[in-house]
């Protein structure tokens, strides 16, 4: 831990590099981060509001809040999972604390998420969605999502080094989780179906709901939801820290 603190400047520089490399080559730069969920939203809006006729008030905001969360969650887990492999030459030759790489990817993920909030609030106001004081809770929701994602990255990044098929496996699991989580559909349409348990006991759903409540429903999430999501996130991070520390010494041998 103390070692990581000593390398805090490195972590920040890695984040800057991520963002620079990501945006330097593209003409409209940061606009992409904001545009991508919007384009996805347009497709969803056409498909779901017209084809399936969901009974969701202001579906655009519902889906957009879900998508912002999901994009952050999925992209950050995948890049942090690959972060050790991507920096293989460095960690075989320089005595850098290995955790800086997954940590830096999670921080760049958060920065991207913050950029994506800009168009979301634009849509919120454009559609006349009520903005409430509950939005002040949003930083805590983001923090919960970050803790969870960092934990997952710390668990997965060494596994991706040790086993060659982890990356593919996680890709499939992510797709499965996407359908198990009410990101783009309302939860009540699966209630009562035989697969409802998969949605109900899905820990990602808890974390998503804590994120979406202040944005879409304009309310602070109920205390029991807060506690559940918080506990899940902290537990995943704890497992991540322990497993990462146990495997860190072996990573340079396998990469």
């Amino acid at each position: 831990m103390r070692e990581l603190y000593r390398y805090r400047d490195l972590i920040w520089t890695l984040v800057q590099r991520d963002l620079k490399v990501r945006y330097r080559r593209s003409a409209i730069g940061f606009v992409w981060t904001m545009l991508q969920p919007l384009l996805m939203l347009m497709v969803l809006h056409i498909v779901f509001s017209n084809l399936f006729r969901f009974q969701v008030r202001n579906y655009a905001v519902y889906a957009l809040a879900g998508l912002l969360f999901w994009n952050f969650f999925q992209q950050t887990i995948v890049t942090s999972m690959n972060s050790l492999k991507a920096n293989a030459t460095i960690l075989k030759k320089l005595p850098v604390p290995l955790a800086v790489f997954p940590i830096a990817t999670v921080i760049s993920g958060v920065v991207n998420l913050l950029f994506a909030f800009v168009p979301m609030f634009a849509i919120l106001t454009a559609t006349g969605h009520k903005l409430t004081w509950a939005l002040a809770f949003l930083p805590i929701s983001v923090l919960v999502a970050v803790i969870f994602t960092l934990g997952a990255g710390l668990i997965l990044s060494p596994l991706a080094v040790f086993f060659s098929d982890v990356v593919e496996l996680v890709g499939v699991v992510m797709m499965l989780l996407f359908y198990m989580t009410p990101v783009i559909y309302p939860k009540d349409i699966v209630e009562g179906t035989e697969f409802y348990w998969a949605v109900r006991f899905n820990p990602i759903r808890s974390i998503l709901e804590v994120f979406r409540d202040p944005i879409y429903f304009g309310k602070v999430p109920p205390l029991d939801h807060q506690l559940l999501a918080g506990t899940i996130a902290v537990a995943v991070l704890a497992i991540g820290i322990v497993s990462f520390r146990q495997s860190a010494d072996r990573i340079p041998f396998y990469i």
Binding site: R17, K93, L94, D249, Y254
Partner: protein, 257 residues
């Protein structure tokens, strides 16, 4: 005798080589159930005992695959010994390979920060030394352009300039002075001299016997992960040269049979 800067006690390092490069979970589970090992063990270092005092310049020789680079990695702290104890006091500046930690999409200037941060420096320390690093590298205006436009000599110069911008307790150079032109090598040697005066311990891994003779105060000879010789450079290097010579000749002899 004072407290050694580098102290290795009974250090062994084992690589587990997967028979295929990376094992999948599926294969792992199958082999786990069968109880069969899917790894081959390779002991790169075995029972190495080494105490190095501050200010020593250690030359390390040995044929390819003798464990020289593994020894450097253990001392640098990149790899943890499988068995035994490693203790190194103070700061280490390892150059185990030129160009490590550079991002070739970034400019030389941006890479000075990135690389020095990876060596454990703080941002304000780098800002203070920035001009010195740029001047010493001799890159001039090239420092502003992306590193993918650099020649290998330029990469080497920048790498060396960054790693030696601060006086470390231990400097490890693994075959890195081979590139770079005569003028730069001369300046590197000057810098190594000043480090030596300041009490830096230097580890030189090289096949250039003459350079080791000129510089080292002590030589190590590694072979098959064992310490075959440790002592006065002239004696060790002569013995090493003699031992290596017949092997070179034995190749054509075998071909004649």
């Amino acid at each position: 005798m004072s407290d050694p800067v580098i102290d290795l006690q009974d250090v062994s390092l084992c690589y587990r080589l997967a028979k295929q490069r990376n094992v999948s979970i599926k294969e792992y589970l199958i082999h786990f159930v069968k109880g069969a090992l899917i790894y081959e063990e390779l002991w790169a270092l075995e029972n190495i005992n080494l105490q190095i005092q501050s200010g020593e310049v250690i030359g390390i020789v040995g044929p390819n695959g003798a464990g020289k680079s593994s020894l450097a990695k253990v001392i640098a702290g990149v790899m943890k010994p499988t068995r035994g104890k490693r203790r190194v006091q103070g700061t280490i500046s390892p150059i185990l390979e030129l160009g490590t930690g550079f991002d070739y999409e970034l400019t030389g200037l941006e890479n000075i920060y990135l690389n020095a941060l990876m060596l454990g420096r703080r941002r304000h320390e780098i800002e203070r030394e920035l001009d010195n690093i740029v001047t010493f590298s001799g890159l001039g205006d090239f420092i502003e352009s992306p590193m993918r436009n650099y020649s290998s000599g330029m990469i080497a110069r920048l790498g060396f300039s960054i790693a030696t911008a601060w006086v470390p307790s231990v400097l490890i150079l693994d075959e890195v002075l081979a590139v770079g032109d005569v003028r730069f090598v001369a300046r590197c040697q000057e810098r190594i001299d000043t480090f030596r005066e300041k009490g830096t311990t230097i580890l030189l891994i090289s096949h250039a016997i003459q350079m080791l003779l000129d510089y080292s105060t002590r030589c190590l000879w590694l072979e098959h992960g064992h310490m075959r010789g440790d002592g006065e450079p002239k004696a060790i290097l002569e013995e090493y040269a003699v031992a290596m010579a017949p092997r070179l000749e034995s190749v054509p002899e075998a071909a004649e049979d």
